[in-house]
Amino acid sequence: MRIPGNSAFPVMAGHARHRHAWDQILTRRQFIGATALATGATVTAGMWMPALAAPSADPRPIPGGIQPFGPGTEIFHLFLPEPGSEPSSITDFKGNVGICAVQGTGQSDDGRRWLFDVDLRFMQGTFVAKDGRNQRGTFGLV
């Protein structure tokens, strides 16, 4: 299959995994990604880029997800990046997805070395929006 495409997209926050120290630790979850899980829930509830998608055209979150605080607590509507898990955080979706869950090294502007851990994703295709209409869009998860 060959599916050409290149489009602007809204980005939402996602999650990342914890890492152990090198000189310092900088995970996406600890830095901005921490927003991720926090936003992961709300993002899917309506923090999509408004410039590209009116509220009525927002996608809905997947019904399942992770519960970091245990059964009966808040659900964060996404799954960890593991083989066999669902990449998309939006439901009623049909399209292309990508996950990049990778660790590595880097440095801050003061010269300190850090580790990083990212989970970056995209979802591009057709989805049924909250207003019940089919829409096309591209979304990122940070």
């Binding site: 290149n6 979850r29 921490a34 019904p63 009623d92 990508g98 869950a101 990778v102």
Partner: protein, 124 residues
Amino acid sequence: VAFSKGTVSVDDLDNGRASMSVDDLSLRDFHNIPNALMRGSSDPGTVSYEIEWDGVLSQGEVRNEANRFNLDWVDTDVTVQWSATNEATGFSFESNVGTRQTSIELGQVPLAIVGEETNGTFFE
């Protein structure tokens, strides 16, 4: 919430080729996982990143009745570079190129896939 535009290019899923680019996306820095989960205090920040997926390491399908999704996936090589700035403190970070190998060298198990998914009402 501040937003920034990015691009996604899915060039050839059969051969695992796709890319994603985001510049100066405004997000919040929650500093650590517990604070983020509890929606604690945060600082304004920005992130930028570039990802290239390429090559086929393996491929397969997932059909999950419980969560109602199908996934045709291609496991790929990947490169990623990202940077971030905390606008309140001025702290900034820039990564070296991250790959599967850099993850493995750190004792981690990377995941890099592209694919086609259907879920929810499109699940069959």
